[in-house]
Symmetry: C2
Subunit: 277 residues, 2 copies
């Protein structure tokens, strides 16, 4: 199911700047019982991205209506909202008057999400580095070739995720997730000042952990430190939290902080599934 | 004029990976008297990019025929070849069998190219950094949001170009060009090990200069050094060579090495215009 600028049979112009230059933004949401979860947060991030890239955001009422219409009949699905700077301009230079292109689509719920939330996943190390660029960091933009190249390093379903490091060997993110670890009684996640996407579930977890009295640090995390952690997990809007039980050759256990945060995410209506344990 | 997978009225699927992830490559060529200049070199770079990204290149005969057909009636124009990884896959993960999307288009020759080749251009300094990532460096891929953001820093036609620096303050490239400078009797251009596009004219100039007995160094170039150079110029496939007469507040003269290299490019059939002096 698809809506391009509100039309089910719309097309994408070949001169669209998203297609030509990766000049766009996107959001991926879990849908449960006909509605997108954490939608207010996704909308807010989309607006933040629009401000940063100076792309006019879609009218809230229009987007809301389209999203509701698309999600209505889906018990469990994935909603994607793609927004590009549209056509026009001269080369990289944006046009004076931007008319964005808006693509909304609903996709089948992926397999094994609930099972992985319970039993955990294996995560390998990617050799494709995560780019350092403060001007692009945190933004969920569509210039994501490095994530594609990182995920293309292996073809199998398992390992499920790949770890991307910056050129200093510090953990930045998973190819499609944010990374957390537990050390002592503290929760840690990489700083995204120079790279990586500021995930919605990451943001929610930072708040949730603080509210629950779990101290959190956002900091540089060398790979070696991650592998010595007592717990590691990845998160994104579809997965919620997936414990990591194997990281680049090192076995890890699913721990109590991970389980507690999974429960808290569920209580905050952030999960489209019930973990299958 | 446009051909999408060989069809004049083709469309771009909304799930194309170029649109969604910047998962593609492109070439921009100058067209003169019905044929694309330096076409063999562009084709070779496209193939290099395809190998690097593991996108199957188009059949040479097909592409050749399409390019020739499109360019045939154009005395002076710009040809763009865009190749994406097509549709499919799961998120960032490419499909097992890639069916690329191919978009060929011809655009009007831009104004003032010949005039700028003679009188030079002004080049400002961009604050948007050039990303450091050896896995993406040199490739003319479509994940170019940083170039868009750099060019979006100013709206006017003049300055014509913007200089992008890496996080160490070294010159990487112009937003849409490569950068050279002359110091003493040597020609210098930034190393592209960590970022920037390996331009066709840049590559041709490195060979041409060496053949002409002009010593060349590919090295790290701090901005301060560029501004003290005796000559600075930028190059790309449409511009050929444009002397830089003002760089981030510093006036520069058009010098003899720049003029000599312009002449040599002309003699190598690399220019679609005669410089207007």
């Amino acid at each position: 199911m698809l809506l391009i600028d509100g039309t089910p049979h719309g097309t994408v112009p070949a001169d669209d700047r998203g297609l030509n230059y990766g000049d766009g933004l996107f959001e991926t949401c879990a849908v449960r019982d006909g509605r997108p979860l954490l939608w207010e947060r996704h909308l807010e991030r989309l607006h933040r991205g629009c401000r940063h890239l100076r792309i006019p955001p879609p009218l809230a009422a229009t987007l809301d209506e389209e999203v509701r219409g698309l999600c209505r009949n889906h018990q469990q699905a994935v909603l994607k909202v793609l927004l590009t700077r549209g056509s026009g301009g001269r080369g990289y230079r944006p046009p004076a008057r931007v008319e964005p292109l808006r693509v909304l689509s609903v996709h089948p719920w992926p397999e094994q999400v609930a099972e992985r939330a319970c039993h955990g996943i294996r995560m390998r190390r990617c050799t494709t580095p995560s780019s350092a660029n403060p001007a692009l960091a945190r933004i969920k933009h569509t210039s994501r070739l490095e994530n594609v190249l990182a995920r293309a390093e292996w073809a199998a379903d398992d390992p499920v995720e790949g770890l991307m490091l910056n050129l200093d060997g510090e953990v930045v993110e998973g190819t499609a997730s944010n990374v957390f670890m537990v050390e002592g009684d503290m929760l840690y996640t990489p700083s995204l000042e120079r790279g990586g996407v500021a995930g919605i579930v990451r943001e929610l977890l930072l708040e949730t952990a603080a509210d629950a009295g779990i101290p959190v640090a956002v900091t540089a995390l060398p790979l070696a430190r991650l592998k010595q952690a007592s717990e590691v997990f990845v998160c994104n809007s579809v997965a919620g939290i997936w414990p990591v039980v194997w990281c680049d050759g090192t076995d890890l256990a699913v721990g109590p902080v991970t389980r507690r945060l999974q429960g808290l995410l569920g209580a905050k209506d952030a999960l489209a599934y019930v973990p299958e344990c």
